[in-house]
Symmetry: C2
Subunit: 232 residues, 2 copies
Amino acid sequence: MSVAIIGGTGDEGFGLSLRLARAGQDVVIGSRAEERGQAAAEKAVGILGSDLTGSMDGTSNEKAAASSEIVFVTVPFAGQAEIYRSIRESVRPDAIICDTTTPLATAVGRPAWQVLTPWEGSAAEQAKAILPKTVRLVSGFQTISGHALQDLDHDLEGDVLLCGADVEAKATVGELVGKIPNLRWVDAGPLSMARVVERLTAVLVSVNRAYGLREAGIRLTGREDWGRPASP
Amino acid sequence: MSVAIIGGTGDEGFGLSLRLARAGQDVVIGSRAEERGQAAAEKAVGILGSDLTGSMDGTSNEKAAASSEIVFVTVPFAGQAEIYRSIRESVRPDAIICDTTTPLATAVGRPAWQVLTPWEGSAAEQAKAILPKTVRLVSGFQTISGHALQDLDHDLEGDVLLCGADVEAKATVGELVGKIPNLRWVDAGPLSMARVVERLTAVLVSVNRAYGLREAGIRLTGREDWGRPASP
């Protein structure tokens, strides 16, 4: 099973590519330009060295999306709709797509501790409105800092909150999360819950500013093991 | 310094009253009816027994609000505006008011994992619109379960995220948080950040449902000690 990272040249996407490839996952980095995707893959291979246990390739967003059963979309909100329109013909009909977008107000020249409200309620629901109906959409990773993802000398600390209608799709993305040391995933509910979860990025930006940090995150309390909930 | 808990007969308010009184804080429980406030205080005295190290009194919301420098308002969203209108003439001009409301959709007969959007953006900002301008408003405690607060045999686990314009007011509420064993507080930014933080209650309700829990919470990662940020 291969994983594509659309927008894999950005902090979040590149960091996720490094973490997944180090965990033995085959990764295809996508970028708007094929050569930029290839360059990012070469850079990742150089950073990982002998820690690279999966394969690592780079190409265009369209080819990356077509190549993989699981597609992460890690792009800024300003370009999110355009990117989804560019890959919607390429994605496999039964692909699992994990959207990591937060609708930060930076898209319209406002601070990163403020957010916009997309027409559909969340960036994830905006993605759903653009994608073919057969695609299985999951929202997640908004609370995991791109800086922390790239800082390979340190384990990650926070939890990944996954939202979506498809329980199996959440569990499949969750298995990838589980391959990354110390990272847990929590089923946060339906896709509409992304209306709240996405916005946690803005709270974490606010906390980072107040305390002079770069990678505040959140961790759920209430039990030690999360992952797939028992069936009701 | 005494603390009033408006709506102190509810789960969140009563739990908070127990925790603060056990930590040596003088507490006045307010309720719509004076005798219900008194009955709640008597019940709290009975539960705490020799663990009661502060004083514990009960009265009407209006008298409780007038009595204290710090006033927690712990009422359901459906009654929040009415309660604030009822105490606005009673609160001291320089009182610190900590609003704990989440605008859950239960106010209009919809599920507790959905929220409403108040006109001002958040329940905390709705409170601010009703209160005198001199009052120092803080928003917090939405991620601490009323059930966990009342379960005195167990330490609390999560963090209290405080939002508000007044840094000193946040630190004062934070000192109260710090009196409760194992509880930390984090400065989450301006009052408008309550637009996101309040809604975490809905995410936690969703997580509780999925995993069969009653007291999921959240804890910030990125540093061990939070509390008052260093001045910029």
